[in-house]
Each structure stands twice: as C-alpha cells, then as structure tokens.
Amino acid sequence: MSTVNDITGTGTGTGTGTGAGTGTGTGTGPGAATANRAYWACADTLTLVRRTLLNYRRTPSAIVWQLGFPIVSVLLYGFVFGSAMLVPGGGDYREFLMPGMFTMTMAFGLMNTAAAVVSDNSKGVVDRFRSMPMAPSAVPIGRSLSDLMVAAAELAILAATALAIGWTSDGGPGATLLGFGLLLFLRFSLIWVGVWCGLVLPNTEAAGALYAVIFPVTMISSVYVAPALMPSWLAPVAAWNPISSTVTATRELFGNPGAGGGSWVEQHAVLMAFAWPLAVTAVFLPLAVRRYRSLSR
C-alpha cells in the first residue's frame, strides 16, 4: 500500500517535461526539413549496418558456419565424386564446380536474411524500431546493405579457398569483376525474398525450414551437374532455374569449363543473370515493403 503512495508522491511532485527534443525536424524551411530527413535516413541505415557488423565481430564463427556447407561441398563433390562427374565439353570438374559453389552460397544467403528478419520481428526489435523517431526506410535498406557486405566477405573467403584447390579465373579482370558483380546482384534480389519471408513466417524454426525449399532448388540447376546430362524432362527445368543462369554466366565470365549448352536460356546466360534477379527484385521488393507497411494495419 505504501508503495502506491510513494509513487504518487514523487510523481506528482516532479511532473513530466523531459525528452521532447530529438535531432529530427530542426530544419527551417521545407527544403531543409527534407535534407535533414535524408541525412537521418542515411545515418540510421549506417547505424543498422554497424549493428550487423558488430554482431559478426562478436561472433566471427557465424560466418564460418555459413560457409561450412559450400566449403564441405567443394571438398565432397570436388574430391569424392569429382572423378565420376562429367563436364560437357571436357575440363576439370573442380573448375566447373566453383562458379556453382559461389552461386549456391549466394542463394543460401536468403535464409540468413529471413532468419535475421524473423528474429527481429518475433522478439519485438522491429516494434521497438517502429516506435522510435528513426527513419522507417533505414530498417530494410540497412538490412540489404549489411547482407551484401557479408555476402562479399563470403565470396572473398570462398574464392581464396577455390584458389587454394587450383581454381582460377581466365576471363581477365573486367569479366571476373562482372562475374562477382552478378553473384552479388543475385544475392541482392534474394535479400528481398528473405525480408518478405521473414515478415511472413512466424518464428525462426519456420525460417530454418526454408532450407527444405532452397536445397532442392539449388540441386535442380547447373550448380553440380550440367542440365544437358539430366533426363530430358528435367533438363529444361534446371536450365530455366534462375540460379542456373548466374552459374552459367559466371562460368562463361571466369572462363571455366562447361559454360555452354544448347538451349536459348543457356546461350544468353549473362543477359539472363541480369534479367532474373531484376525480375525477382521487381516482384519481391514491393511485396516486402508492402508487408512491412502493413504491420501498422
């Protein structure tokens, strides 16, 4: 009983009146207000990128775990199955395999994005952000920027591993850079699929189940085996898989074996490696933004 009295006693005595001032809205005209808003949108985005990078700095093993599967795959498929694998047109299977591993790592990144968004959403972190005077756009933009940075780091580590087992890019610096650019572009488009999944799925367990979808999708592609060697009913599915386009395009750009193929989609792989991610982004970026906005409905 006395505690209730204590509270009213102190509370009515001091009153409120703190905390009204923030950094927002200090500009004078409408132009200054817009510039101010843009400034804080950038600053908030960078703060959220910093948050992700701090997470990785505190637990660097997270990145190793994410790379575990592709690296183990390189060793298993490259060395255990390697001698039994055929490369159309001849060539070393490990050279053939690496662009597939790069692409698969980008595709699996979708699960990291989804897991991070689900975790923030289910733990109330998204609610906290939305109840703060920060720029709302900083949340998705910060997520995509930091995921791209992590993806670039993953590619660097994987490329170093690849060089160690004898993979090289014979395409010249321009084509090589374009190849890695296309890989990051695929990852970028999948970030929005991941954000959308993260907002739709109820919990991190459900996000883990995405594996059951992504794993077969990466298998039924040109990651491990050329579609030409698959049964005739499966070959077109694998060839038209968006993941295959990035794999084939990077094989072509890196000058690795097995890039060619009979179908139109395989012959225009670089074009399709632009077109597919562009289409995925065009569909899922608006979906993700709409889903985020509908949280307040």
């Binding site: 509370g11 703190t18 948050r51 109840s131 703060m132 920060m134």
Partner: protein, 331 residues
C-alpha cells in the same frame, strides 16, 4: 504541459474485414485519461484489447476510429512527434542478444539521433541507473531474464521519455526479477516519466499503479484508484476457516449475528466470510464468540478485498491467464 499524458477518446480497431461475421472488435470505443507523472494500470482478461490499445498509442498500429493524444501530440497526425516522446517495452525483451549491453544501448542511442559521443555517455549513465555496469560488456544473450528486462527498460529510457508504455513487463520473470523491474519502474517515475502499465498480474497493478483502468471486450469498464475499485466489491470482511466441516453452520450463524448480513460460505475450503463495518471490533467479537461456543478455528482474519475480487466481479468471472495474448491477429 498537457493536462493528460495520455488521452484516448472512442478508439476503435477491427481485425479481419473480408467477411462480416469474421470481424473482431479488438477495441470498441475505448476511453482513457492518464495524469502526468503517475503509473496508470491497464487491466483486463485475455483479448480485452490491452495490447491493441498500447500499440495504437505507441504508433505501431493505426486506429479505425476515435482519437488519441500522447504527451499532447496526436498519434494519427504526428506519429513521429509521438515517437520522440515515448518509450515502449513490449512483451519480449527487444534487445540484440548478439551484442553487449553497452553496445545495445549505444545502438539505440544512435537511432534516437543522439550522435556517437552522446550515445556512449547516455549508455554509461543508464547502465549505472539500472545496475548493469558490471555486466555491461557481456553479451546480452548471457543475461538473466531480469537483467535483459532491465536492459530493455534502459533502452526505452534513452531520451527520458515523457510517456513510457510497459506491456506486461514482468511476464515470465521469477519473483526476484519482478522486484528488480518494479524498482526500476519506480526510479523512472521518480524522474518524472508517466507510465502506462499493462499487466495480467493484479498484485503488480496494486503495487505500482495509482490509478487503474479495467478493460473488457475492447472498452474501459472501470477507472478508479486501486482502493476505489476494491470498495466497489464491498469493504473489509471477516473471514473464518473452521477446522471441522461440521462446524461450518455454527460459524456461519455467529458471523451472521455479528456482521448483520448474510455470510457467504465456501464448503470446500471450510470458509465463511461476511463484510463488516466496524472492522476490529467485529473481528474481536467474532473471535470471542467462536471461542465461547467452542468452535475450532483454523484461520480467522480481517481481509481487504483483493483486486482479483474486483476483477472477477467487473468482468463477470472470466479469469486471466498468463498466456500471451492472441488479440492481435498476425497482421
């Protein structure tokens, strides 16, 4: 300063709009007025609309009807203005478990636009205030439930908000951790913050709140001080628990004679109780008479009605549980 820290008038919110029979009224003409500098409790059974009300006031959800002001700012017209004046502590500790306590507070400080240096200074102050300095550089994932809650509270206090929303802040905490959170809340109110506290624990509202709004089916059905609410179910009462079930009618007769009203009997618990006006005199009289009539008594007491009694009376017997509320349909 506005007259009310929080003001809601006729707030309404419906979920599910496709089919008419599917529509749930989460809020249906909800009114609320909170005086500045107080702790105001929001009580109600599951699905009464407490969380929906808090989410609308904290600008997380748009109302379908009615209006609301927080710290004098309209939530629909200027949500950003509201956000600069509030703190929100939801049902889960919304902290990044991959970061340390200090990193968490610095992160939120930057997002409140304090700038790097001020965010660092403020993080240090809050760690001190919430007794987390020792654990400041440990990962928040290793914190105990109470510590994580305190870090969560600290994060909501970065700007010393005018109004703090606490949505079931002690759900799932052990008694010691609950005590820690209560102490933290008292510290905040002493600093001038107004707190709107949603809780399912009636003793929590009783301890912290100077005024309580009881909600049911999306409306406020009572608004009073804890004592005022208790008076509504009658004043103090004398309660007798007899040792032998056979003595129950005799004890009942004694109580009826002295209290002058018809006592209520709970046979399973061998208990009989009746409201009294001259409290201690009645208690003494009952004790003396029971002894004279040689009725063996296990317990004899003068009891204030608990908020539970109020709650059960007002909401027609629908009890609260500690389950997480399902009132917001996954949006």
């Amino acid at each position: 300063m506005p007259e009310h820290a929080v003001l809601a008038e006729g707030l309404s919110k419906r979920y599910g709009k496709k089919r008419r029979d599917d529509v749930t009224h989460a809020l249906d003409g909800f009114d609320l007025a909170v005086r500045p500098g107080t702790v105001h409790g929001l009580l109600g059974p599951n699905g009464a609309g407490k969380t929906t009300a808090v989410r609308i006031l904290a600008t997380l959800l748009r109302a379908d009807g009615g209006r609301a002001e927080v710290a004098g700012v309209d939530v629909a017209r200027d949500p950003r203005g509201v956000r600069a004046r509030i703190g929100l502590v939801g049902q889960f500790a919304a902290v990044d478990e991959g970061l340390t306590g200090r990193q968490n507070l610095e992160l939120f400080g930057r997002l409140f636009h304090l700038g790097g240096r001020a965010a660092r200074v403020r993080a240090g102050e809050l760690l001190d205030l919430f007794a987390l300095t020792e654990a400041a550089d440990k990962g928040a994932g290793q914190y105990s439930g109470g510590m994580r809650r305190r870090l969560d509270l600290a994060a909501s206090m970065i700007l010393a908000p005018a109004v703090l929303f606490l949505d079931e802040p002690t759900t799932g905490l052990d008694p010691r951790a609950r005590g820690e959170v209560w102490d933290a809340v008292r510290t905040l109110v002493a600093g001038g913050t107004t707190v709107l506290l949603t809780t399912q624990y009636l003793d929590e509202a009783d301890r912290l709140a100077s005024r309580i709004t009881v909600m049911d089916r999306g409306r406020a059905i009572a608004d009073d001080t804890p004592d005022g609410l208790k008076d509504r179910v009658g004043g103090d009462r004398v309660e007798v628990v007899v040792a032998e079930p056979a003595d129950l009618p005799a004890a009942r007769a004694v109580l009826a004679r002295i209290a002058g009203t018809d006592p209520r009997t709970d046979e399973a618990e061998r208990r009989v109780h009746a409201p009294v006006t001259d409290r201690v005199a009645a208690l003494t009289e009952v004790a003396r008479t029971l002894q004279e009539e040689r009725i063996a008594v296990e317990d004899l007491a003068l009891r204030r009605p608990a908020l539970d009694d109020v709650f059960l009376k007002l909401t027609g017997g629908r009890e609260t549980t500690t389950d997480t509320e399902k009132e917001e349909v996954a949006a």
